[in-house]
Amino acid sequence: MTMASLGKITRRAFLGVLGVGAAGIAVGYYYYRKPYPNPLEGELAEGEVTFNPYLKIGSDNTITVIAPRAEMGQGISTTLAAFVAEELDVTLDSIKVEHGPPSYAYYNAAMLEEGGGFNFWDESFTAETVRGLMGVAGKMLGLQATGGSTAARDGFDRMRQAGAAARMMLVDAAATRLGVSASDLATDNGSIVHKASNRSVTYGEVAIDAAKLSPPSKVVLKEPASWKLLGKPQPRVDMLSKVTGAPIFGIDVRQPDMLFGTVRMSPVFGVKPVRSDVSAASKMPGVIKIVPIDSSYGSGFGVIAENTWAAFKAAEAIEVEWGQPAYPATNDGIMAVIAEAAKSGDASAMRDDGDVDAAFADAPQDRVIEAEYSVPYLAHAPMEPMNCTARLKDGVLDVWAPNQMPVLVRWFCADIAGVPGDRTNVHTTSMGGAFGRRGELDFAIYATMLAKETDGRPVQVTWTREEDMRRGVYRPASVGRFKARIGDDGLPVAVDMRVAAQNMMASLLSRWFPSLPAGGSDPSITDGARNQPYTIPNYRVSEIQASLPIPVLFWRSVGNSVNGYFHEAFMDEIAHAGKVDPIEMRRKLMADFPAALAVVNKVAEMSNWGEALPAGKAKGFAFTLSFGSWCAQVIQIADTPAGIKLEKMWIAVEVGTAIDPGIIEAQMISGAIFGLSAAMSQEITFGDGMVEQSNFHDFDAMRMHQSPEFEVAILENFHKMGGVGEVGTPPAAPALANAIFALNGKRIRSLPLSKEVTFA
């Protein structure tokens, strides 16, 4: 396969983002103000019209709202639909919600706006300008992406405006139809009513006329006080299908005449088979064809068969010897590279307040604490293993992909199939979890490659769990070296944090655009440490890049999952060294940040922090500001004969505006359990250059009996809306580690915690 033709287009497009300072400005005002074409124009049913990329209305009054972000469990389809429905004045149970086609019209500006490396609370001219330019770049690239806990923030204005504008057009059309003034009409769940004459028309009856009108140049959005849907828990639009086993996931796609398949890729990263023999596997019952795969993601084999089981058996039976790794073959060897970087690698200060070197130069030895922390690589391990279904027939490519990046899936798969993008249909299914993993393209690329081998028959390519685990793209391992000088009042005078990890963006680009040189800083290496609302006179957080070719990627909360633990566990050490209560210390260090103080105080009150606990019980605290939301957690644990039991977690989170409190509560608990699961037992390690874990028996997550009780408080004081999907994860690990220290005095500086303690 060649990616040459693709490389030309995508490199240009991507440089628009990478070189935002130059390319972004040069494109000019007109281009980014101009709206993208409405992708729904081309796919309307009989009697159906569209008002904007978010709304279709049929003459039978069927109202379809497009929620163009990946539904992977976070409830975004419900929240986005509610934005449109609120202003359109319809209830959620009276509309259909669809994901819609991949389109540049659905670019995610918010995702890039926070990618510029500025602190969330920084509203300086420079920070706001960079945010604006980054958002513009998101539009030019047409980055229809789901990630960074951005979807609700991105859709909040755009989708409410879409609903409001359509409602105004419908009312105007109804006014003409009824021969009355628009100001005498009211809307009521899909109908337009003229009270004085007791006449009404449905949206569907006037939709065709309304769609011919020009969109209003100015729309007025409802005041939050008059919201009917927003701000209140809504029944999720996907709940019924999920309690009845409906075929909504990628793996449930069924097409006429469909074949099944799987892949077996090199478990050593970056190598090809040295020797292989597929003859025995090819002759197994139900096997149709075994084909070699060579891609920027790796090399190996694709198996096409009559059913998934036959494909799995044949893949296992392929005789193959893989090449040797171009990186240390053992886990110790890999971690040593990162540890050495943390110790002596070139550091770039990402935050540098005061004069850290001077503060340590004259520090008395007994007032300085030092620590080395580390976290392992982690797999995403969503419940639904990677899969994708593809069909290449009569010059048209159809790809059914549970994915977070539909525009990129279309680019790459069209290129592989040799068909134009406008003859490539990407159908984004519901996802059985993603956590970042489905932002990759490997599953779609492989399915498209196999679809070229089936004479037009569709093929569903499902990975085994073992393949999913061992051919993942991992949360980077990281090593941190930290130092603090404690002042006479017990508070830190100086904090110096060096954090080393692989450059995630460089790793990603090496898979998407292998010929593109990638370099520069990766702000995610220090995300969650460099940008926390603490005032410390001398405060430095430095990034050090460790050079390794292990494929790494965003994992729920990205760098915050690493640095939440590093920063907050080390803060707990500082509090202990200074003989200050950990929450009392935060109150002092966060005095300049009322939003942070409020959640700290709230969680202290909820958890009755400071109460005397019976022997064998303890609490731990942690705080992380991530994705624009401020989250404080306290966990209570108990020592039991079976091991440490997690009894209860209290969470206080400041989100600015709570769009759906029910979903926010669920996401806070979900994020915390995700973080606790990793902290307790998860690690991806290497032997012979290959991932050693293979399935849930050796890469498990929290189970029902291990789950603590939860209590969640949602605060809405800050003037900017924060994200929700990832915010619960970062403080979970340090809260638990700090509780364990309070319980038994064991300061655990390396995850997972199960290396040091047993959990019930």
Partner: protein
Amino acid sequence: MRLTVDGKDIDINADPDMPLLWALRDIAGITGPKFGCGIAACGACTVVIDGQPVRSCSLPVGDVTGSVTTIEGLAIDGKLHPVQQAWLEEQVAQCGYCQAGQIMSAYALLEEISDPTDEDIDNAMGGNLCRCGTYPRIRAAIHRAAALKLARA
């Protein structure tokens, strides 16, 4: 071979060694039970056979002797089973992928114990993994389902 699935007799032409899960999904077109691990470690594929929750990914279809109930057979004449109704009312599911298996394990639990304690729930549900962390709502939904079931009886 002939199987009884969700009250219907179906003929399945499959290798007897093929796990029940793949026979249901790829041959019979019953996609409610999900594939998660293939080694009976996650419970996404759980079906109920003669009242017992079974991991269909690890049971050869040739060894199936009883009547199989999947998530698709729980609702009767469009009326949700109390367990499904409770799941709906508690708004349990997030990604939803594990929930077919969770619901089937909860269904089997409630057939066995009409008003389970938290400890009963811990014991019955430990084999069902949820990566979204819906456990607190699953627990609440099982208690609610027990009440709904009693009310309907």
